[in-house]
């Protein structure tokens, strides 16, 4: 019965949408363009709605398509809030002048390190780059010392990545900032010969686990997420943190921002405040996302290597250049 009811509700909601058109959206709460993991934002949206009664409609997608989409939509974007997994997408929207300043209370909830000086967006979570490897195939002493080592011919055919994803592209953008354009272009060229492409970081980890490939460059939380479930796709996987301020130790900041064109700026700001506040950050600690919490005084899941121990390189999140990265990757034949 419940099944039939929600089926009917689904059809009816769309029908109403057709008849009433965009006018309906006015009373529909806020629209979030969500590039974060669906479950995480779902938990945030539900928590927020429960506390404030403000409805949240989520459109799911990826960092890069949404950031470019928002730029293409310009001032008529239907989105109120934009949440990403990585910073380059935020930078793209900010440099197009499409973000409204984030409320001061919200900014005050997050340390300076996890927000741009402009105050146009704010960090909502963080993730660390790792080299996930199959422990039956590689010993600790055979691991690459640096991300750059993977360009070496000795690594040919031995590592994987998901180049079409924004996650990997963020790592490349950090490399670009740290080592410059020429070195990055060379590294990408070597990568094209050396690596095996998969679609999605989960798939990379699954392949590593199955021994299809020795290792892969992904983010840390895929491992913990799988361990928390059945461990079926990570039982042979071990994590190698590059540390040492290596480009491969890059910690990527997930961002949130309110669109200047938002028709519900108050509600949108409230949502961002909630996400970076106690309720939202608590979900990072207790939920199944295993991303790092970034709020002041917020703790991350105790299973994770503490953020402070990761020896991440100093990367200025506000100048990560996603356009240049996709151009370089297109030129290297990775896209």
């Amino acid at each position: 019965m419940r099944y039939a009811l929600s089926t009917l509700a689904g059809a009816a909601a769309l029908a109403v949408n057709l008849i009433a058109g965009p006018a309906m959206a006015e009373d529909d709460g806020i629209i979030v363009y969500n590039a974060q993991h669906e479950n995480l934002t779902k938990a945030w949206a539900e928590g927020f709605t429960k506390e404030t009664g403000i409805k949240v409609t989520v459109r799911n997608g990826g960092d890069s398509d949404f950031s470019n989409q928002i730029v293409a939509e310009g001032s008529s974007s239907p989105a109120d809030v934009f949440l990403t997994e990585n910073s380059p997408a935020m930078v793209l929207v900010e440099s197009a002048g499409l973000f409204a300043p984030v409320d001061a209370d919200t900014l005050a909830q997050v340390p300076q390190d996890y927000q741009p000086a402009s105050g146009k967006w704010v960090g909502i979570a963080a993730r660390s780059t790792v080299f996930a490897y199959n422990k039956t195939k590689l010993n600790a002493d055979q691991l690459p010392k640096s991300l750059l080592d993977l360009a070496d011919p000795s690594w040919k055919g031995r590592w994987a990545a998901s180049p079409s994803g924004a996650d990997f592209q963020a790592i490349v953008s950090a490399l670009l900032q740290l080592k410059g354009e020429a070195a990055t272009a060379d590294w990408l060229k070597a990568m094209k010969t050396n690596f095996t492409a998969y679609k999605g970081n989960s798939t990379v980890m699954k392949a590593v686990n199955a021994g299809e490939i020795e290792g892969g460059v992904i983010y840390h939380y895929y491992y913990f997420g799988d361990q928390a479930k059945t461990g079926e796709n990570s039982k042979n996987v071990e994590m190698h943190y590059f540390k040492n301020q290596d480009p491969g130790a890059f910690v990527s900041i997930s961002g949130g921002g309110v669109l200047a064109s938002s028709k519900h700026p108050k509600e949108a700001q409230a949502f961002l405040k909630w996400v970076t506040g106690k309720g939202g950050q608590e979900i990072l600690k207790t939920g199944d996302s295993f991303e790092y919490a970034v709020g002041k005084g917020a703790e991350s899941n105790p299973k994770l290597v503490p953020l402070a121990d990761l020896q991440a390189p100093k990367v200025d999140a506000t100048t990560l250049n996603s356009k240049k990265v996709t151009d370089l990757m297109t030129a290297a034949g990775l896209l």
């Binding site: 929600s6 689904g10 629209i31 993991h37 669906e38 239907p78 989960s202 299809e212 034949g333």
Partner: protein, 539 residues
């Protein structure tokens, strides 16, 4: 995933509908009288055809805007070469294998005394009810290491051979046995009769079916993502995800469209101009089924193997994941919502496609001529474009020019209508051909205004065809993924989208209920397709 447009009732069947129409055409109904009696229908048909050219015009416009230098930098690069090789090899390998398999299966089920031929023939069509990406999902979870070209060929053949089987078996059923008798009487053995008499007569069916399969391979996305095989379509989606509507994606789309045209051109060349119809008076004798004798066992084995690969693997995998997931994966609220939205989109899209196809179908039966042929070819060309190309065009057009339509239900329904117009057109045309024009005239002479006369006669009589067409369009929409993801209004989550999102996070158990529902809903529609093809062949 289902047809970018090609449609279940294949070109071969389309042609039979045209023949039917021509023979029943009363003299004196020409283009000019048509214009006088029903100007609105002509205007509507022209409007729909122009609209369907929009995606093509858009790609050309973007190319011109981008400038030759950038275009050539984006098109003539090694990556495009790689994709061209991948896509080309895939089509060159999968299509011939599918042809051989389909001809063998069709002959066994239509012309031999194989036990259970009727059941087998339904089992050869049933794989169509399983979206191609679900086929791939099933294989990848059963054989995780499967990837690359040969995996692509295997799953492509399994997922798409029924299109060829449908057209070939329909053609086989209608062959006049007299020709084969003549061949045998002239001293040819059974194999030679098959090669020199039967096979040439299947040429149209094989060409039509191959075209359909080829176009699907070019348009398919999900299937190849699972097995990590890059084609133009997957690369376009990658670019779209990295840059939204950047020029690189549009230029890849341009190359992909050229590939579609190459396929269409090859089909026209190979099809030839020969005439295959029976001439003279009388009706064809009914066919005799060949005795298989000792060949029965291998024949049965071939059918069994095909069924196991094409139906067994997906059903076993879905079943296994459903068991593994238990009751937990049946999140009824979520599933119900997705089901409702999918049904609504499918029905609304099917309705729009059918209404849009109506004027064109009517003109092509009542007043065929150069104008009609031109307009109609526009519709078929667009029907052969991959969904990703149409979606990319509509996203960019609505964002840049028609912003109020952006992300609306209207736009996605238009996309569906463009993609699946040929399906609606084919079914409608066949049933309008059976509605006598005299009824329209009688209604007119009794004083009804033209459109009213049309409504109360032909349109009502074509209802069964319209319903069949709608079912085919709905089937396509239900299993559509790429265009839906790019165009859907905010908050939309169809069955295919939910399936894709779960399987992308390798949560195969949670994806299983969605796969199950998609298959369960597609089965009756596939059955309809099967019955329709039988009826078209006169049985």
């Amino acid at each position: 995933m289902l047809p970018p447009g090609g449609s279940g009732a294949a070109p071969e069947l389309m042609r039979s509908a045209i023949d039917l129409a021509r023979s029943g055409l009363p003299s004196g109904t020409g283009q000019r009288t048509l214009w006088r009696t029903a100007p609105w229908i002509v205007i509507a048909a022209i409007f729909v055809s122009l609209l369907s050219l929009l995606p093509l015009a858009f790609i050309i416009w973007i190319a011109v805007q981008t400038g030759w230098e950038t275009v050539s930098a984006l098109v003539f690069r090694p990556r495009v070469g790689e994709l061209l090789v991948n896509t080309g090899l895939l089509v060159l390998l999968a299509v011939p294998i599918a042809i051989v398999l389909s001809v063998a299966l069709a002959w066994l089920t239509e012309r031999s005394d194989l036990p259970g031929a009727r059941l087998w023939s339904w089992l050869c069509v049933a794989p169509l009810a399983i979206p191609a990406f679900v086929h791939s999902y099933a294989w990848i979870t059963m054989v995780p290491r499967l990837h690359g070209l040969w995996a692509g060929v295997l799953i492509s053949v399994i997922a798409y051979f029924p299109f060829l089987y449908l057209t070939v078996s329909a053609a086989l059923r209608r062959l006049d046995p007299a020709l084969e008798d003549a061949g045998a009487a002239l001293g040819l053995g059974p194999w030679r009769v098959f090669l020199r008499v039967v096979l040439p007569q299947l040429r149209l069916a094989i060409c039509g079916g191959s075209l359909l399969v080829g176009l699907h391979l070019l348009a398919e996305y999900g299937l190849y993502v699972f097995i990590r095989f890059d084609t133009f379509t997957t690369a376009i989606v990658d670019q779209f995800q990295s840059t939204f509507n950047g020029p690189a994606a549009n230029m890849l789309a341009g190359v992909l469209v050229s590939c579609c045209f190459v396929l269409l051109g090859i089909e026209v060349l190979v099809r030839g101009e020969e005439r295959y119809a029976r001439v003279g008076s009388g009706a064809a004798r009914s066919q005799q089924r060949a005795r298989l004798g000792r060949a029965t066992i291998p024949g049965l084995l071939l059918l069994l193997a095909t069924t196991l690969l094409a139906l067994g693997v997906p059903f076993v995998t879905i079943g296994r994941w459903l068991v593994a997931g238990g009751m937990e994966v049946w999140r009824f609220d979520e599933i119900g919502l997705a089901l409702g939205q999918t049904l609504f989109l499918a029905l609304a899209g099917a309705l729009l496609a059918t209404v849009a196809a109506m004027p064109m179908a009517w003109i092509s039966i009542r007043a065929p001529g150069p104008l009609q042929r031109l307009l109609e070819s526009c519709n078929y060309i667009v029907g052969s474009l991959p969904g990703v190309v149409i979606a990319l065009a509509l996203v960019t057009i609505t964002v840049r020019i028609a912003l109020p339509l952006y992300q609306t239900l209207f736009t996605i329904l238009v996309a569906y209508a463009l993609m699946f117009l040929p399906r609606a057109l084919v079914s409608l045309r066949a049933s309008i051909a059976q509605a006598p024009v005299e009824l329209e005239r009688a209604a007119s002479s009794l004083g009804r205004p033209p459109l009213n006369a049309l409504w109360s006669t032909t349109i009502r009589l074509s209802a069964p065809g319209a319903a069949a067409g709608m079912a085919l369009v709905a089937l396509g929409i239900m299993n559509e993924l790429t265009a839906t993801q790019m165009l859907a209004p905010n908050g939309t989550r169809t069955l295919a989208m939910a399936f894709w999102s779960y399987s992308g996070e390798i949560d195969y158990a949670s994806a299983a209920p969605y796969a199950f529902i998609m298959v369960a809903m597609s089965l009756p529609l596939t059955w309809l397709l099967y019955v329709q093809s039988k009826r078209m062949a006169g049985r």
